[in-house]
């Protein structure tokens, strides 16, 4: 029997529909898999640190694979907890489980927009961040930007900062390109790429045309410039590995890529690449730790959330994968790495707020139209 923390019948019915809609198999796993898995305690019961009586298991859903491997060993050893991790590629994989009634997942690394949806649907436990010592390590920039609070309650702890920068070949360019316009420059025809992602691409176009990427006022212009751009591109990349390969093989000299992939390309593949935020601005968001309702091991999950935000452990996120943790780790890094992770103050970073349904669907239409053009 799984515990339904929320009891309204209409919600249950909706949940059932949603669950069925997601996948029959997931629903079945949700109904048959458990049997008294949930603990009686919830994270808000913890009023003093450290929490006592951790459960002996912890099931993570964290897509920072290499970091999760580190965490399985390090956290497991320190707290004598048996940790497992499910890597995933797309948030709907875990979200559908929450919809079907979670009784398996203890801790998720979730993107901001999915955190918001989960909060709206009451899928998450509130967290006692005031008693968590590592809460103080989270940088103010991300604390202020992320939307993980509702009605004075906190539902998530930021894990990482995710930047959508302009990645470029630093041998080809003498200095970092200072404008997204480089992606529309005929001089680089055939050596450019875009990301096959409606939001990322449309927001780049919005920034390029001087519009608000969260609430643009001229969709036609966005579509127009993206269509204009097409002949200059080698391809739209749809898979991170593919995107990185384009730069590593020097098939392209500029285009959007993630910071982590840029890091891997530069330091592990030895490619001459770097990233920048053009003067029009660059979007960034965060991934956050959340504890979904129905988690069988909520207290261990809470301890884990705190542990992950300790400077040493957060630094591993960068060391293993090249992503910027939500914690200031500059003291832990080599000079070279510190330089790489440093986001100059003059960068114009725009927090990627969750788009309204209307903007998102317009972006999606535009992107489909661009690709079909």
């Amino acid at each position: 029997m799984r515990k339904l923390t929320d009891g309204s019948t209409s919600l249950k019915r909706r949940r059932f529909l949603q669950g069925a809609a997601t996948t029959g198999a997931a629903a079945a796993a949700g109904c048959l898999g458990g049997g008294g898995g949930g603990s009686d305690r919830v994270p808000m019961d913890v009023t003093e640190w450290p929490p006592e009586d951790l459960e002996s298991n912890l099931n993570l859903w964290n897509w920072y694979d290499s970091w999760a491997e580190y965490a399985i060993d390090a956290f497991g050893e320190e707290f004598d907890v048996d940790v497992s991790n499910t890597g995933y590629s797309s948030a709907d994989q875990w979200y559908s489980q929450l919809q079907a009634g979670n009784d398996e997942i203890d801790n998720i690394a979730a993107t901001t927009n999915w955190v918001e949806r989960s909060i709206e649907n009451d899928f998450l436990h509130e967290l006692p961040v005031d008693v968590m010592p590592a809460w103080e390590n989270i940088t103010d920039r991300i604390k202020e930007a992320s939307s993980y609070q509702q009605d004075g309650s906190t539902y998530a702890v930021p894990e990482s900062l995710v930047l959508y920068p302009l990645t470029y070949n630093d041998e080809y360019f003498d200095s970092a390109p200072d404008s997204w316009g480089v992606l529309w420059d005929e001089e680089h025809e055939g050596d450019l790429c875009m990301w096959d992602n409606s939001t990322v691409s449309c927001q780049i176009a919005a920034l390029y045309t001087g519009q608000d990427p969260i609430q643009p006022d001229d969709y036609d212009e966005i579509e127009e410039v993206l269509i204009q751009q097409k002949p200059l591109l080698q391809t739209y990349w749809g898979d991170y590995q593919q995107g990185m390969s384009l730069f590593v093989n020097e098939d392209v000299v500029a285009g959007p890529l993630t910071m982590g992939r840029t890091y891997t390309a530069r330091f592990q593949e030895g490619a001459p690449v770097h990233y920048t935020a053009p003067q029009e601005g660059a979007m960034y968001t965060s991934d956050l730790f959340v504890i979904p309702k129905g988690a069988p091991n909520p207290i261990a999950s809470l301890q884990f959330t705190n542990w992950a935000s300790e400077t040493e452990n957060a630094a591993q996120l960068f060391e293993t994968m090249g992503y910027q943790p939500a914690v200031d780790i500059s003291d832990e890094l080599s000079e070279e790495d510190a330089e790489f992770t440093n986001w100059p103050d003059e960068w114009n970073l725009v927090f990627s707020e969750t788009l309204s349904d209307e903007v998102r669907s317009r972006y999606d239409e535009i992107w489909t139209a661009v690709k079909a053009a």
Partner: protein, 320 residues
């Protein structure tokens, strides 16, 4: 939008892993099997149910319920649980953009199916007629299935990219490089490669059942190789051909990985649009509506093709 640690294989839609759910041990039944069979023997309806039940159960559980759920969702506004609406269908069916994509997807699928059918038939035919090592050759045909779809696509990226394997070979024999990656040709090559086994196997099965005497009889009666192929070999194997075509056409129509990885900027297919609704546009109802329309279109096309095939080549043909 961060790091995908793994990716799904091709085919429209995706979802969580359907883990097999076992229902506890059944050790207690040990000595009672004969009792059970006797019990069932006396109850023919129950026996029929116990035999026919599981397959139907599987069909309902894995196909009917998800499809029904998708149908329900497709009539909701904006998000799951939203108000009832026809808007998703209206938006899709009145948009030039989406219809253009569907038309393009159809063209690509037809091309892919035609190429795969031709190459696959030739391959199956030569395996059946001219080779003694059929098992080995069939094994080679199926072999790629042991490797992940995505890895195989990366292999093709390496082969097709400018200065990749293909270009190097061309250079070696003194031909100019072609740099096929990110072109439609690359998409066609990738599809042909991944779907070939799906066509070869049914083609092979129907060709091995073909009585060689019929071919000789046709030639004996004055038909050359081409006439014989068209009037005997093809009609006699038409069921296998249609099976192969169906198996290739459907997944091609729903594909999103191959065109995305190999296709560059001008090869958007409807599967990519659907995937996008689920994974980044967060508009599941709209994705579900597109999925429903596409399902209906594909099924209709296939019914049409089957009928057309049947009418064209006569009454299918009983073997033996």
């Amino acid at each position: 939008m961060t790091e995908p640690s793994r990716s799904d294989d091709g085919g429209a839609g995706s979802g969580g892993d359907p883990e097999p759910v076992t229902d506890g041990g059944s050790a207690a039944v040990d000595g009672r099997v004969s009792d059970l069979t006797a019990f069932l023997r006396e109850r023919p309806r129950l026996r029929t149910l116990s035999i026919a039940g599981p397959p139907y159960g599987i069909l309902v559980f894995f196909f009917a319920i998800p499809l029904l759920a998708m149908l329900v969702v497709s009539f909701q506004a904006d998000q799951i649980g939203g108000a009832w609406t026809l808007g998703n269908y209206v938006d899709f069916l009145t948009s030039d953009t989406y219809l253009t994509v569907v038309w393009r997807t159809f063209l690509i699928s037809v091309q892919v199916t035609a190429i795969v059918a031709a190459v696959g038939y030739a391959l199956a035919y030569s395996i059946v007629r001219f080779s003694r090592r059929t098992t080995l050759l069939l094994l080679l045909v199926i072999l790629p299935f042991w490797t992940s779809y995505i890895i195989r696509m990366y292999a093709w990226i390496n082969i097709l990219q400018s200065d990749g394997v293909l270009d190097s070979i061309l250079n070696l024999v003194g031909l100019p490089a072609v740099g096929l990656l990110y072109t439609k040709t690359a998409v066609l090559i990738g599809f042909t490669y991944v779907w070939l086994p799906l066509a070869v196997l049914p083609f092979y099965a129907s060709l091995t059942n073909l009585d060689g005497d019929l071919i000789e009889a046709s030639k004996d009666l004055g038909a050359g190789p081409i006439r014989t192929f068209l009037s005997v070999t093809l009609p006699m194997t038409i069921n296998g051909v249609i099976t192969g075509i169906v198996l290739v056409f459907i997944p091609t129509f729903g594909s999103f990985i191959t065109p995305r990885l190999l296709g560059g900027t001008n090869n958007v297919m409807i599967g990519m649009v659907i995937e996008n609704q689920f994974k980044s546009a967060f508009n599941w109802p709209f994705g579900a509506a597109i999925g429903m329309v596409i399902s209906v279109v594909v099924v209709a096309l296939l019914l049409l093709a089957t009928r057309f095939g049947g009418g064209l080549f006569g009454a299918g043909g009983e073997t033996s």
